[in-house]
């Protein structure tokens, strides 16, 4: 016996697909939609990732940096640098805080010494000389003992460009002002204005010899494609093996140099990844569902082929060809769609995307989509495919082909889900860049499916019970149908419920994120920030300002302190953990001794207690109890502080004990002076401190006036113009809200398409029976009623439980990914339930309407 020609089964497979055009088109459409969504989101995400990477690299000025509070020893540095890949570039940077003085004024400034190559990333822009050429940064600074300063310093000190400034022991000429400095990130706006010097001239200031706290940095530019986290682990291991001060060398990566904005853009990134995953899952469920229906209808043809001498393997092969054709076809369509649409995205979103943002279709995600289309559709349909095993050509001698469900072997059935599990798992680990988070996501999805499955079983059981009790014939028939066609009904229920779950998940998560990202209500955009206001200056300053009709807002005291003990144990600021996960990475950065404390009782609009009770209004010294403090929740998490922890602070050599009474969340973009640690009143009032505050709503000219006024009357007060920075941050947060919302809508849309196609196919499967009922003389209205009851029951329960599970799951995801930012909005939930129910009933109604109108001839024909 000969083998069939190579493409015989392919040809046959293709013919069958052509013949079942409706199925094929729906399948293609459904899968292509999901894949196109995936490609678009993935590319967008990758572009965003790149953009963020560029941003965070610009903030650090490098890929990675080593910092130390002592000069690097040659030998130590050699040992560490041996671990860098070849062709790594490096540059040195030193910075310290010091006071600078003119004849009548002194200010705190940050002096930063830089040499050539700085910065490796980002562009520093000077007022006169434009963009700084990193090649000859040092020469231009060093030649004439020049300095570049932040413009506000000129204000504060009453200096002009070209004037001279004495720093330590040396006089520098102010050669230029710094207009844009990517390394002055949002988070550092509370710090003193910066002065840039040539690295080589730092020594001449004689400041390096003093006791002052100096930060020595080595910045590195790594060759493309270096495994950053691997390098970090290697370096950290080496550092851990050092003794003494060398063991306190810290590693900074550009990822950790990020700030609030980085964190939020990171959210956006994770969120997009999640949406992309869900697009794939939705498409997969839709595809598997469509395919299941298709395959059941192919059972007879498969039987015929087998009776003509085809082996089971060959029929498998034919169906596999079909899946492969459809999957690859869908992927190709998806690629074409995204090729067409993605170039338009930046045009459409021009207003909203950050400057210099480029959306590129990554070849990687295209290839991946192609593989996902082919392999993914196989994997998703494998559980269904394994039902070919149950096909018995012997049934050809009897009537009801495909009706009978041979009991599937349980372990084999379970095994057929294994590839799906593995695929989903690797996909979500890959998307979330975290083993734990990815596994948790898949775990939650799995648990949801099992739960929904048992609910489905229960609902059908009840439907069976209901069908026995009295009621109209049609009602009983409807319930009996549901119960009898159990596998069909369960899979329909599951598909609908999972669809609802996934539809609801994104908007639900969006709600929480949106709260965090969007502009705070009732908020006064600050223009100027004031630091170092002495207590005795408060009253006159406020008087001066109100004479100008300007208000000083959000006035807060600052008291410097050191954290000595936690629950009686000495606080260890330098932990030696090797960073592995993002979660741990965040923690490391924050273990520091020096803290800014503040005190007040009233929380501001942008603050909210998430755990614990409000602090009492006044500290009672005689009670002997520790003072009450409130911690910012994220800070507390990073430091590992909990409610009830006892912290001992050294406030100017006085030890103060305090107990954590509550944790509060502070909205990041409120632009108010925020403090990690707030004391209750009555504790810190006597400790020497200063005040900070902000002034809002000033136009450019007024800003200048007010600034001058403050500087001339209160020379020690630092004023920083934050208008530009605030504007930039707000713009980005608005963009993010928009992006989040758009994605939420898109996922709803995609989900509804899937729900629609599921419902439609479910009805389609019932048409034969409807026709029969019609031929038997059942009234149209009765048939309609029966179908509607069935689909309403399915829809309501699927919607209800889908939403319920999505709430639990979104809570879990928010907890894992988005630091517990979760908010329930009943509108979304209710909307989903009503939406899914009415969609399934509506689709059922439309489809039956058509059948009932058509002649029963089709029935006789088939």
């Amino acid at each position: 016996m000969k083998n069939p020609p190579a493409f015989f089964w392919l040809k046959l497979a293709f013919r069958e697909l052509l013949n079942n055009r409706r199925f094929s088109l729906f399948f293609l459409f459904n899968l292509a939609l999901g894949l196109a969504g995936f490609i678009a989101l993935d590319s967008f995400k990758e572009s965003l990732d790149n953009h963020l990477g560029q941003n965070s690299k610009a903030i650090l000025g490098a890929d990675i940096a080593l910092t130390s509070y002592l000069p690097f020893e040659e030998k130590t540095l050699d040992a560490l640098e041996a671990r860098f890949p070849q062709n790594t570039l490096s540059t040195r940077k030193t910075s310290l805080f010091t006071m600078v003085a003119t004849e009548d004024q002194t200010r705190l400034v940050q002096i930063t010494g830089i040499e050539k190559e700085f910065p490796f990333y980002g562009k520093m822009v000077l007022k006169n000389n434009g963009v700084v050429e990193s090649k000859n940064v040092e020469q231009s600074l060093a030649l004439s003992g020049e300095a570049w300063v932040y413009p506000e310093l000129l204000f504060m000190l009453g200096l002009k460009l070209g004037g001279s400034l004495k720093i330590g022991e040396k006089k520098f000429r102010i050669a230029d002002t710094v207009l844009d400095d990517p390394s002055s990130s949002f988070s550092s706006f509370g710090l003193a204005p910066r002065v840039y010097l040539a690295y080589s001239q730092m020594q001449e200031t004689a400041l390096l010899s003093k006791k002052s706290r100096i930060s020595y940095q080595r910045l590195y530019r790594l060759p493309d494609g270096t495994d950053l986290s691997g390098l970090v682990v290697k370096l950290q291991n080496k550092i851990n093996s050092f003794e003494g001060s060398d063991s306190k060398i810290r590693i900074l990566t550009h990822k950790r140099a990020g700030n609030n904005l980085g964190r939020l853009l990171g959210y956006l990134n994770d969120y997009l990844g999640l949406v992309a995953m869900i697009a794939v899952f939705l498409a997969g469920i839709g595809a598997a569902y469509l395919f299941r229906n298709y395959l059941v209808h192919r059972f007879r043809e498969i039987s015929i082929l087998m009776s003509l001498g085809a082996t089971r393997q060959q029929t498998y092969r034919m169906v596999l060809w079909q899946l492969g054709l459809l999957g690859t076809g869908a992927a190709l369509i998806a690629i074409i769609i995204s090729l067409a649409i993605l170039p338009l995205l930046p045009l459409l979103l021009k207003q909203f995307l950050p400057n210099g943002f480029e959306t590129q279709l990554s070849l990687g995600s295209l290839l991946f989509a192609l593989v996902l289309g082919g392999v993914g559709s196989l994997v998703f349909c494998l559980p269904v495919l394994s039902r070919i095993r149950t096909v018995q050509p012997l049934q050809l001698f009897h009537k009801n082909i495909g009706q009978q469900d041979a009991t599937p072997v349980l372990w084999r059935q379970a095994l057929s889900y294994l590839p799906l599990l593995i695929l989903s798992w690797s996909l979500s680990v890959w998307q979330s860049h975290s083993l734990i988070v990815g596994s948790a996501f898949v775990g939650m999805l799995l648990a949801s499916i099992l739960f929904l499955g048992s609910i489905a079983w229960l609902v059908l059981f009840l439907a069976g019970k209901l069908s026995q009790t009295s009621g109209s014939t049609m009602k009983r028939l409807a319930f009996r149908n549901l119960q009898r066609n159990r596998t069909g009904a369960i899979s329909c229920f599951l598909a609908l419920a999972l669809g609802t779950l996934l539809i609801n998940l994104i908007p639900q998560i969006y709600q929480g994120l949106q709260e965090e990202v969007s502009r705070p209500d009732d908020f006064r955009i600050p223009s100027l920030f004031l630091f170092d206001i002495q207590p005795e200056q408060m009253e006159p300053l406020q008087k001066t300002l109100s004479a100008e009709k300007v208000n000083l807002n959000y006035l807060s005291p600052i008291v410097r302190a050191r954290l000595e003990k936690v629950n009686g144990n000495k606080f260890d600021a330098n932990s030696k953990e090797v960073s592995l996960t993002r979660e741990q990475e965040r923690q490391q950065n924050f273990r520091r001794h020096n803290l800014n404390l503040s005190y007040r009782t009233q929380l501001s609009d942008s603050e909210q207690i998430v755990e614990g009770r409000p602090m009492t209004t006044n500290f009672d010294l005689d009670s002997g109890k520790p003072a009450e403090i409130s911690l910012e929740v994220r800070y507390a998490e990073r430091m590992g502080f909990k409610l009830g922890d006892l912290l001992t602070f050294n406030v100017q050599e006085v030890l103060v004990e305090a107990i954590v009474i509550n944790l509060r969340r502070v909205q990041w973009n409120s632009f108010q002076p925020n403090f990690f640690i707030l004391f209750q009143p009555g504790v810190l009032e006597d400790a020497p401190g200063t005040f900070v505050g902000s002034i809002g709503g000033l136009v450019a000219s007024r800003r200048m006036n007010v600034q001058n006024l403050i500087v001339s009357d209160y020379p020690n007060v630092s004023v920083i113009d934050v208008t530009r920075m605030v504007g930039r941050v707000l713009k980005i947060s608005d963009q993010m809200v928009l992006a989040l919302r758009m994605m939420a809508y898109l996922s709803i849309l995609a989900g509804l398409v899937v729900v629609f196609s599921i419902a439609r196919h479910e009805v389609e499967g019932r048409l034969w029976e409807l026709n029969l009922l019609k031929v038997l003389g059942a009234r149209f209205s009765d048939i309609q009623k029966m179908i509607q009851i069935e689909f309403a029951v399915l829809g309501i329960f699927a919607g209800l439980f889908g939403v319920a599970v999505s709430l639990i799951m979104s809570y879990g995801i928010s907890w894992w990914f988005f630091e517990n930012l979760w908010k329930w909005t009943w509108q979304t939930s209710l909307g989903s339930i009503i939406g899914v129910t009415s969609l399934s009933v509506g689709v059922a109604w439309l489809a039956t309407q058509r059948t009932l109108r058509s002649s029963p001839l089709n029935l006789l024909r088939s």
Binding site: K2, F8, R15, I304, S307, G309, T311, L396
Partner: protein, 220 residues
């Protein structure tokens, strides 16, 4: 002798202890070129017997030899191949592939095994059943009688040693049924094929060289 059945039993397990015995100690010998009709009440096990002969199901015990080969001893793969070469089956419901034309349906069993002249032979078979004009038509464009004739062409195209037919005229009206059965017997006669035919139709049964009645699991 082309077919030899000895002590054939077939039962379907019902519950753990209970089973339906459909065929009990069945014996039958059929010579090459014979035409045998099997009649019997509904539920007597006629289709069950055919499905065993076609190798689509396995007997519970006993021996079933086709062309001297024991069917129950064959592996699934071997059996499939044996069926493809030796057994033609005609069903009551025709069972044509809906998306293939008449010609494609007929050539399917040949093409599946890469016969070079499959189209040629399929055309011949269609000619034999008198449907050469309809080769481009799809099953839904054919009448019941025509569909069954296509099915017959598909069964004989492989030149089987034995032709199994389960109620081939059961879905057709009388006149058409007669036409189709005429065709079937003509073909069997000219080609010398062996035919085993299951029917309720006594007239049809009487056209066979031998009639057997299946009752209580055995031939009476």
């Amino acid at each position: 002798m082309i077919l030899e059945i000895k002590g054939l039993d077939k039962f379907f397990p019902q519950t753990d202890h209970d089973k339906i015995e459909v065929l009990k100690n069945l014996n039958l010998q059929v010579e090459e070129g014979e035409t045998v009709a099997v009649v019997g009440q509904s539920g007597s096990g006629k289709s069950t017997l055919l499905s065993l002969l076609a190798g689509l199901d396995r007997q519970s015990s006993g021996s079933l030899r086709l062309r001297g080969q024991e069917i129950s001893a064959m592996s699934e793969v071997k059996l499939t191949q044996f069926r493809a070469e030796n057994i033609g089956i005609i069903f009551q419901q025709f069972y044509l592939m809906p998306h293939l034309t008449a010609l494609e349906n007929v050539s399917l069993p040949l093409e599946m095994f890469g016969h070079k002249d499959s189209l040629q032979r399929a055309r011949e078979a269609l000619l034999q059943v008198g449907l050469e004009e309809r080769e481009k038509h799809f099953p839904h464009q054919l009448s019941g009688g025509e569909s069954q004739r296509v099915a017959i062409a598909r069964a004989i195209v492989i030149r089987p040693a034995i032709l199994l037919a389960d109620e081939p005229t059961g879905n057709l009206d009388n006149a058409t049924g007669v036409q189709v059965s005429n065709l079937l017997f003509d073909l069997v006669q000219t080609t010398g094929m062996t035919l085993l035919l299951v029917t309720h139709n006594t007239e049809l049964a009487l056209r066979c060289s031998r009639q057997l009645t299946l009752q209580s699991g055995t031939f009476q």
